[in-house]
């Protein structure tokens, strides 16, 4: 059995298909009579993550921009309305059971709420026992204990302080690290982390982000880091994709995009981050056009039109495509036509 599996993965590696490939993905929610009340959560989204080197790719955007929808689609929790998601060259929709098993093992998830993911009636150990059983990771109890402890050490926890405890006895930071340890146990190739630190205190946040970087550097795990916080994205990610209302606004190398944003929305977003230095106050004022908040969907052209300081006539006619504005740097704005 195991030999067979190895051969299979070898063949896959030879073909050099990207680890994850997302093509023209669209997700529309709701239908109702006469197609009223439809919400396009994600539109025509494409990206790919190569098998190596491992990378941390951030998907950033405000609430309602479609970033969590993307995470759920990639994890197979939702079916796309249009488009394809391929893992190692295989379409998620067409996968046979065996490849699905491999996918389920190699792609792991960390969620936002470290309180909601635990069953309060069971000790923490069960989180590990379930995955070990499900994926037949070990032959006996001692070995299970050993690999569990190993995983906890990797995320900087002391096994004797964690095992045997119940979720309510642990802090949010500890719980989120346990989730990382659980994912690590399966030696995944990709972890989808949906806002993993947004509910964690600042002093702990940095520690969790460090662990994510360690897992990438030392264990070759790629991350899809979904966040609303550009400063953490800037700190840890290699590439970044910024969504606005279901569409990509700008994408490219995280350092280049955030230190010199080109899309007016991304510029506004970066400017609005409160800098922890009273000597660098927010510059100027921003106004949200009042009606925009109420009637967001009536627009045919660029979705950012009403808030944009550089609006042009052409912006109203059709949504701007992604223009190439540098090495792997794209922005969806007519300014760069």
């Amino acid at each position: 059995m195991s030999v067979q599996k190895e051969v299979q993965t070898n063949i896959l590696n030879q073909t050099q298909a990207p680890l994850l490939e997302v093509c023209n993905l669209t997700k529309v929610f709701g239908s109702g009579l006469l197609q009223r009340g439809q919400k396009v959560a994600l539109e025509n989204f494409s990206m790919s993550i190569q098998d190596s080197p491992p990378k941390i790719i951030s998907i950033a955007g405000e609430s309602g921009s479609g970033k969590t929808t993307l995470a759920r689609l990639v994890l197979g929790f939702l079916l796309p309305t249009q488009g394809e998601i391929r893992y190692q060259g295989k379409d998620l929709k067409m996968m046979d059971q065996k490849s699905w098993q491999i996918f389920r093992r190699e792609v792991q998830a960390i969620f936002q709420d470290p309180y909601g993911v635990y069953n309060p009636f069971y000790p923490i150990d069960r989180v590990f026992e379930i995955v070990i059983q499900k994926f037949h990771l070990t032959k006996n109890r001692q070995e299970s204990r050993r690999i569990t402890e190993e995983a906890l050490v990797v995320v900087g926890l002391r096994p004797d302080e964690i095992l045997g405890k119940y979720p309510h006895q642990l802090s949010g930071g500890q719980r989120q690290r346990i989730m990382l340890a659980r994912a690590f146990l399966l030696k995944p190739k990709l972890i989808i982390a949906d806002e993993p630190v947004s509910m964690i205190d600042a002093s702990m946040r940095a520690i969790i982000l460090k662990i994510i970087m360690d897992l990438k550097d030392n264990f070759g795990i790629s991350f899809l880091y979904i966040t609303h916080d550009l400063s953490t994205a800037f700190q840890i990610s290699d590439d970044i994709i910024i969504l606005y209302d279901g569409l990509v606004a700008e994408s490219g190398d995280a350092e280049i995009v955030i230190s010199g944003p080109k899309h007016p929305y991304v510029q506004l977003l970066v400017e609005s981050i409160p800098i922890p230095d009273p000597e660098q106050p927010w510059q100027g004022r921003i106004e949200l056009p009042p009606e925009e908040e109420l009637e967001k969907d009536t627009l045919r052209g660029c979705k950012f039109y009403r808030r944009c300081p550089y609006k042009m006539e052409m912006c109203l006619k059709s949504p701007p495509p992604l223009y190439n504005i540098g090495a792997d740097h794209l922005a969806a704005c007519y300014l760069y036509k």
């Binding site: 405000e62 609430s63 802090s171 949010g172 930071g173 500890q174 205190d201 600042a202 002093s203 702990m204 946040r205 940095a206 520690i207 969790i208 982000l209 460090k210 970087m213 609303h228 550009l230 400063s231 953490t232 800037f234 700190q235 840890i236 350092e255 955030i258 230190s259 506004l268 977003l269 970066v270 609005s272 981050i273 409160p274 800098i275 922890p276 230095d277 009273p278 000597e279 106050p281 927010w282 004022r285 921003i286 106004e287 949200l288 009042p290 009606e291 908040e293 109420l294």
Partner: protein, 325 residues
């Protein structure tokens, strides 16, 4: 700074929550002053007692919590000694509150207009609807909302708009003090900026005092003049924001500032290892001693007192109190 009138004075405030396993000392001997018209920040991580403090300032601590001791002087009167009828009158007219989750603090089955009207009629008695409507619409435009919001229900508004409705409600009766407990923690950065901008505008127009409670050092730096850093139910440091960020005295403040990811240098941040102590059985010495990189033997033995190290800059840390001695 010193010429300003002192509007709020908190002295040795203690708020405990009583549980089966003992008392949780959520606010434990906190003292500070707030001057008229200033923006004062209270910052700390979850569980440090900052929200309990907000509730205590409004005398809204509910069971199993009780205010165990201390005094809160508002304009010279200790509000902890007032009877409940008097405190009801003070709330909202002198000291108002903007809650954390605006989404959950508005009544979903009442129009925005009637919710604000409630505040007015409760405190100022009956007013004809025409007058009320005009007044409320003026309030709504102060916070940048269109008049139509008057007739809308909360579910028709976005998060930022609901938060602004809460601001409008808080300033309805021209209070002297506005307490805002993490008013923007559920909002996107751009909306957060707009809401904070609104709040500061309104505060300046009214000449009110703002007490901003939060966990985001960045936001506090942008908005407040002076801040208190809370840790494990106690104040670690109080001072002017400008000096505190340049020269933090307490190791906790210093590490908290360093743990913030910046937009200048990549991979440049570190956290604070360890956990805050349980407030059920707080340690004998300094509460931060188990996480502090500069810990001395003395720290585990004795609780440091809040001492004024530089003018208007207080810190509770043995590293500094020794210097003074």
């Amino acid at each position: 700074m010193t010429e300003r009138k002192q509007i709020l004075e908190v002295k040795d405030l203690r708020v405990y929550y009583h549980t089966n396993r003992g008392s949780v000392r959520a606010v434990d001997g906190v003292s500070f002053n707030v001057q008229e018209g200033e923006s004062f920040g209270i910052i700390g991580e979850s569980g440090c007692g900052k929200s309990t403090m907000a509730m205590a300032l409004l005398r809204l601590v509910v069971s199993p919590g009780t205010i165990e001791g201390g005094q809160i002087f508002l304009d010279g009167t200790d509000i902890l000694t007032l009877d409940s009828e008097l405190i009801r009158k003070i709330r909202w007219s002198q000291i108002s509150f903007i809650p954390q989750g605006a989404m959950n603090s508005l009544n979903p089955v009442m129009r925005i207009g009637s919710q604000i009207a409630d505040v007015i009629t409760t405190h100022q008695g009956y007013q004809p609807e025409k007058v009320l409507k005009k007044r409320i619409q003026r309030l709504l435009s102060t916070v940048g909302l269109i008049h139509r919001v008057y007739r809308m229900y909360p579910h028709e508004l976005s998060g930022g708009m609901k938060q602004r409705v809460c601001i409008a409600m808080a300033i309805t009766l021209d209070p002297e003090i506005i307490i805002a407990d993490e008013p923007t923690s559920a909002l996107d950065v751009v909306v957060q900026r707009v809401v904070m901008q609104t709040l500061v505008d309104v505060q300046e127009r009214l000449g009110a005092t703002l007490i901003l409670i939060g966990h985001d050092m960045g936001l506090q730096a942008q908005v407040v003049n002076r801040q208190a850093v809370m840790y494990a139910g106690k104040i670690a440091e109080i001072g002017e924001v400008k000096t505190m960020y340049k020269n933090p005295l307490h190791p906790y403040t210093k590490l908290l500032i360093e743990s913030l990811p910046t937009l200048q240098l990549r991979h440049d941040f570190r956290g604070i290892p360890g956990l805050p102590p349980s407030l059920l059985n707080p340690p004998k010495g300094c509460a931060f001693s188990n996480r502090c990189p500069y810990v001395m033997e003395h720290c585990r033995e004795a609780m440091p007192k809040l001492v004024e190290i530089q003018p208007n800059h207080f810190v509770a840390c043995h590293l500094h109190s020794e210097v003074v001695r």
